[in-house]
């Protein structure tokens, strides 16, 4: 084994080990030390995974735990060991998680009562689970990291022990625990037919077996679980509750990395395990594509009708997950490259936006754009982060997200492009509208957002503004990196996600400048700014019907965990129906 192969588990063991040490020693350590150690560990994970990504460009880096290589069982086709495998895409995403955690740790400096460092222990556990999720090549091991990620996330959501935080965490825990049962059941069904958990061996076995209802059921269960984590319609209802009530530094990780990581896991499974099964690929190209479009539209509209900044950002995350799912369902090489780049660009942008919301919660004691009307003047740093973030979401032709959309558009149909432009514009305009209200004191009368749920809350303001603004502005600056800088790496990453032996994909130069989403954003933003009170009968009728529509959307997100579970069951039934139709 080469040095990189021997050291591969360090990416997981380092945060895991430091978390245990901190938990054991927190009583005796000076209170500042755990914070510093957490930042350093996150940066170390990031640096190590960058090195892994570079090393894996020459071929995948594999590590079999305990020396249980596929040959160890002495029987061909029987893989008893559990393996880690770093391909360029997985290692790069793990590095991105490390970076985002480092930024969140800096942002959270002084936020929490760190006497026992519980926050930092949980966050490091969370980081270890995410890197493990990225690097594993074993389906059951993937389930274990999925669970570890969930448990850390549940505890972090409930961490402030506020009223909404507890209830949001409860809904989050129930829905995601149910998702993990589905994942386990699906894993079991796939094992029943293939006799292995290893991605590559499973893929080879699946290509041999052909059509089989048990395999399709296994895929449906696994996909439903990962789509619940990735907040895709109709499994998405928990997300707005959890992201809006979690502490801001945690929301940064949730929206920036956790949900998109679930989608990446699904992309990896579809590319490595299922390409040999025609029925499953039919489901991916058909149903998942449709779900992605529906998610983008519905969540985009709902985001536009929110007034609580973190809830608005949460719905915008759901909309962008829908956009990413269309790229996943497309499955071509350029679309996969677009998906990977979009995960990075969206994560950086959304992280910065949640940090800006956190700054407002700390310094202005609210995250409600109507309550905060004009109260953000003088806070130029969060204003800059929010404005740039809104523009980036809305399709500003600069930076990683625009490059990603360009790649996705290469193989997208007209309908896809229209929906993607509309969803981006809705979320971008919503963020810009909130920014204009809070920082510029400029807006028309509130539209349907007046009816949206909100809450009085605040976060601890005991740290200087620059310390909170620095990570936010750094993330926005990184999101503005020209996509050409990562293109060669991206080509290799997209190709090797599917098969480690494929040559790097030659990605085209940046295509034509697509200004349609940005124009649409400007139109919607202007509409929000110029809105006047409805006086004439016609405009009153329009307003009334608009409110009825948005009220129905709000009613869907009822906050009742029973409703959420019912919608998950509907989603499962939808999958079963689609599978039956495609098979029969």
């Amino acid at each position: 084994m080469s040095l990189a192969e021997t050291l591969l588990p360090v990416a997981v063991l380092l945060p895991l080990g430091v978390a245990t040490l901190l938990l054991a020693l927190a009583h005796w350590l000076p209170p500042r030390l755990p914070k510093l150690v957490a930042i350093l560990v996150a940066l170390a994970v990031c640096a190590f995974c960058v090195l892994l990504a570079r090393a894996s460009l020459d071929g995948p880096v594999r590590h079999w735990f305990g020396g249980w290589t596929p040959d160890a069982a002495g029987r061909p086709g029987v893989v008893l060991g559990i393996g880690f495998q770093a391909d360029p895409a997985s290692a790069a995403l793990a590095a991105f998680c490390g970076l985002l955690f480092a930024a969140a740790f800096v942002f959270a400096w002084g936020y929490f009562d760190t006497e026992h460092a519980h926050f930092h222990v949980l966050m490091l556990l969370f980081l270890a689970a995410m890197t493990g999720f990225c690097l594993t090549r074993d389906l059951f091991n993937l389930f274990v990291w999925f669970e570890l990620m969930s448990v850390a996330a549940f505890a972090l959501t409930a961490y402030p022990l506020g009223r909404s935080a507890l209830e949001g965490a409860f809904n989050f825990t129930i829905t995601n625990a149910l998702a993990s049962f589905l994942l386990l059941a699906g894993t079991g069904l796939l094992y029943a037919r293939t006799g292995t958990f290893d991605f590559a061996t499973m893929g080879a076995a699946l290509a041999r077996t052909g059509a089989d209802p048990v395999l399709i059921a296994g895929f449906v269960l696994v996909a439903a679980a990962l789509l619940t984590k990735a907040a895709i319609l109709p499994f998405h209802l928990w997300l707005a509750d959890a992201h809006a009530v979690a502490p801001s530094p945690v929301s940064v990780i949730f929206s920036g990395a956790m949900v998109s990581l679930a989608l990446f896991g699904l992309a990896k499974l579809v590319a490595q395990v299922f390409p040999g099964n025609a029925e499953v690929m039919g489901l991916v190209h058909g149903l998942l594509h449709g779900l992605g479009l529906a998610t983008a539209l519905v969540a985009g509209l709902t985001a536009f009708a929110q007034r609580h900044l973190k809830r608005l950002l949460a719905f915008s995350t759901i909309a962008h997950m829908g956009i990413m799912l269309t790229a996943l369902a497309d499955g071509s090489g350029t679309a996969t490259a677009g998906l990977l780049l979009y995960i990075l660009g969206h994560g950086l942008t959304k992280g910065a936006l949640f940090m800006a919301a956190g700054i407002l919660l700390a310094l202005r004691r609210s995250a409600d754009e109507i309550v905060l009307y004009g109260r953000g003047r003088g806070l130029w740093a969060p204003a800059l982060a929010t404005g740039l973030g809104g523009l980036l979401l809305g399709g500003l032709p600069l930076g990683l997200m625009h490059g990603a959309t360009g790649l996705m558009d290469l193989s997208a149909g007209v309908l896809d492009r229209v929906v993607v432009a509309l969803a981006s514009a809705l979320t971008g305009a919503a963020v810009l509208r909130a920014a204009a209200r809070i920082f510029l004191r400029a807006s028309g009368v509130p539209g349907p957002e007046l009816l949206a749920p909100t809450e009085r809350e605040h976060e601890k303001p005991d740290r200087p503004l620059w310390l909170m603004a620095l990570p936010a502005l750094t993330l926005v600056a990184l999101a503005l990196v020209p996509p050409a800088a990562v293109r060669p790496f991206l080509g290799a990453a997209a190709a090797r996600l599917r098969d480690p032996s494929l040559p790097p994909l030659a990605l085209p130069e940046a295509g034509s400048l697509d200004l349609a989403p940005l124009l649409l954003t400007a139109v919607l933003f202007a509409f929000a700014l110029l809105r006047r009170r409805a006086v004439r009968p016609l405009s009153r009728a329009v307003t009334r019907s608009e409110r009825t529509g948005f009220r129905a959307l709000q009613a869907l997100h009822s906050g009742l965990v029973g409703d959420y579970v019912a919608w998950m069951a509907v989603g499962l039934a939808l999958f079963a129906l689609a599978a039956a139709v495609s098979a029969g």
Partner: protein
Amino acid sequence: MTLLPWLVAAWLFAVGLYGLVTSRHYVHLVGCLTVCQSATYVLLLGIGYVHEAGPPVFYDHPPGTPAVDPVVQALVLTDIVVGAAVTALLLAIAIQVQRRRGTLDPQALRPLRPPPSAAE
């Protein structure tokens, strides 16, 4: 393998889901979640079952005798541990909710929505 374990698993899962959807008490809800979880245990053990085979312990009989699949049993064991952690966390949250709000009815508890009495 007979159809029975599959049917039992599906039935348990459906019953648990019904309970989750209609529950009016957080602790009851957690119980329903556990019922859903046991459905996956039944499914996994059913998958690994081999007719007329012994336990996968080769202490007192030679290797090579038919045995049920130990891999799925390891999965079930792992999941029981994780399930216990999740249940404990949920019950801890339920205690905190009861302390702060004095009720455990999901209808009265909705994140980000002020209760009717406190509405401004």
